[in-house]
Amino acid sequence: MLRLEKLVKTYRTGDQALKSVDMEVPKGQVLALIGPSGAGKSTLIRCINRLVEPSSGKVWLGDTELTHLGAGALRRERRRMGMIFQEYALVERLTVMENVLSGRLGYVGFWRSFARRFPQSDVDEAFRLLDRVGLLAMADKRADELSGGQRQRVGICRALIQNPALLLVDEPTASLDPKTSRQIMRLICELCAERGLAAIINIHDVALAQMFVSRVIGLRFGAIEFDGPPTALTPDVLTRIYGEEDWQATIQKVDDEDAPAEVVA
């Protein structure tokens, strides 16, 4: 469904953020992208929807190659890739509903969006999604009135209303408490399963990733260092990705999944 071929990104400063990354994500697969800060995780997912322009290589979304598309075609393809951000990236002075409906901007014309007169089907879908994440009552609140976990739920609705085939998720839990982090990860994974979406989730919390995803890719210095199921993440592998450290505690959490969750909460 998504295929990266020899994807390279070199920033103007000369930093090579990605060194020839090859990767394939089948339909409906949720994978976690782990690695130390600066390994190129953020750059990788931004090169897919070209918020960052890749230097060379190819990105295939289904049968469409994205890296050579013109502005209009790129906008149409971006509609198929929902993005969820670190620190939520909601437009703070817009209402929750406007934030969710902004996910439809790629589908409606300028004047319609300017007048906030979205098609009734879009509005209904926005209400349905807000209800699904438990925020229906918040529809007319301003985004900056919500708590962190609530904001991220709105962010999820904004991505899903695009009706995407792929979710690009950048550190969704970076500024959330441990319990909310799990709830958000669970929500993302449930929604992906319900809708058959593939997802790439950048995440720092290895234990959390292991809990929810079926495949883990480890990035180090812009190259893929590990690609396998979460159970194959041994201390050796983590040392290869992150460097020397005592990894026993990190991995143990996975064995008894829900017991420590309550303690943390």
């Binding site: 929807n49 918020l51 906008r75 149409r76 393809e77 971006r78 509609r79 890739m81 993005m83 951000f85 670190q86 620190e87 990236a89 909601l90 437009v91 703070e92 002075r93 817009l94 406007e98 902004s102 996910g103 439809r104 901007l105 790629g106 589908y107 300028f110 969006s113 300017f114 962010g155 904004r158 695009q162 690009l168």
Partner: protein, 273 residues
């Protein structure tokens, strides 16, 4: 706990001070002394003719005393006409100026405009800011003749320089991630501006616009002095005829209106956070 390292031993017990802004001692002292010498030289170069000041005190006194009995009536219709002209000039120039400033402000923000557009818009801003209002007014009075048209054009032109520059700076300081999130949805450029940028800069735009209306009214009083119409012309005439009580009435009206605008802009700015 292990014993403190040699490095730590060396600094323990040493006083700590904030590092000075200018590291080189001699440069620091030279700059300070230089500033003092310059200040002394500058003050001593101002010539004061004390006998003239003494004579002038009377006239100044008469002027200030006239504030106690401002005359709104004798030239009542002139004052009213001048005031209306000033207000019309202010509102018209502010509306036109703000309307033109918004696209130029967008173009002058480096993070959303391509380089050629940016350079053109920054050029317009620089030109407008380089030419002081009075100079523009003198030029426009020469072209369009005496009257409020010249004043209106001057204020519109000055508004563009002021508002575009500050709007562009606010856009450049906006939160990138909010705008990026809107771009990622596949929005068009105008949708991106409307959803991702406008909500972030709107409070500041409204606040600056209110402030500019305030400035434009005060400027409109000055522009009358060079013949560009408005209450300034009435004020100038009153001074020329030594009618200080009428001049006092005009000044009181200007002060009142500026304070009312100030209060109004304060209320509006508090509302739009």
């Amino acid at each position: 706990m292990s014993a403190p390292s040699a490095e730590l031993q060396a600094v323990l017990g040493r006083r700590w001070r904030k590092p000075p802004l200018i590291r080189r001692t001699w440069l620091r002292w030279a700059l300070g002394l230089g500033a003092l010498v310059y200040l002394a030289a500058a003050i001593s170069s101002v010539e004061v003719n004390w006998s003239r000041v003494y004579e002038g005190l009377d006239r100044g006194g008469a002027f200030i005393m006239s504030f106690a009995r401002p005359d709104f009536v004798t030239r009542g219709s002139d004052i009213w006409d001048g005031l209306m002209e000033s207000l019309i000039m202010t509102v018209a120039a502010s509306v036109v100026g703000i309307a033109i400033s918004i696209p130029i402000g967008l173009g002058a923000a480096r993070n959303i405009a391509p380089l050629p557009v940016y350079l053109v818009c920054r050029g317009i801003v620089a030109l407008s800011r380089a030419l002081q209002e009075i100079i523009v007014a003198i030029l426009l009075v020469a072209i369009f003749g005496f009257g409020p048209l010249a004043g209106f054009l001057t204020l519109s032109f000055a508004t563009i320089g002021f508002l575009s520059k500050l709007l562009a700076e606010d856009i450049e300081a906006m939160d990138r991630s909010q705008a990026e999130a809107i771009r990622a949805t596949g929005s068009g450029w105008w949708q991106w501006i409307n959803y991702g940028v406008q909500p972030q800069v709107m409070p500041r735009l409204i606040g600056l616009s209110m402030y500019r209306i305030d400035i434009n009214f005060r400027e409109s009083a000055i522009l009358g002095l060079v013949g560009a119409g408005g209450i300034g012309a009435t004020l100038n005439t009153a001074f020329d005829r030594y009618e200080f009580d009428t001049a006092a009435a005009i000044l009181l009206l200007i002060i009142g209106i500026v304070m009312a605008l100030e209060y109004l802009s304060g209320v509006i700015r508090a509302r739009v956070q």
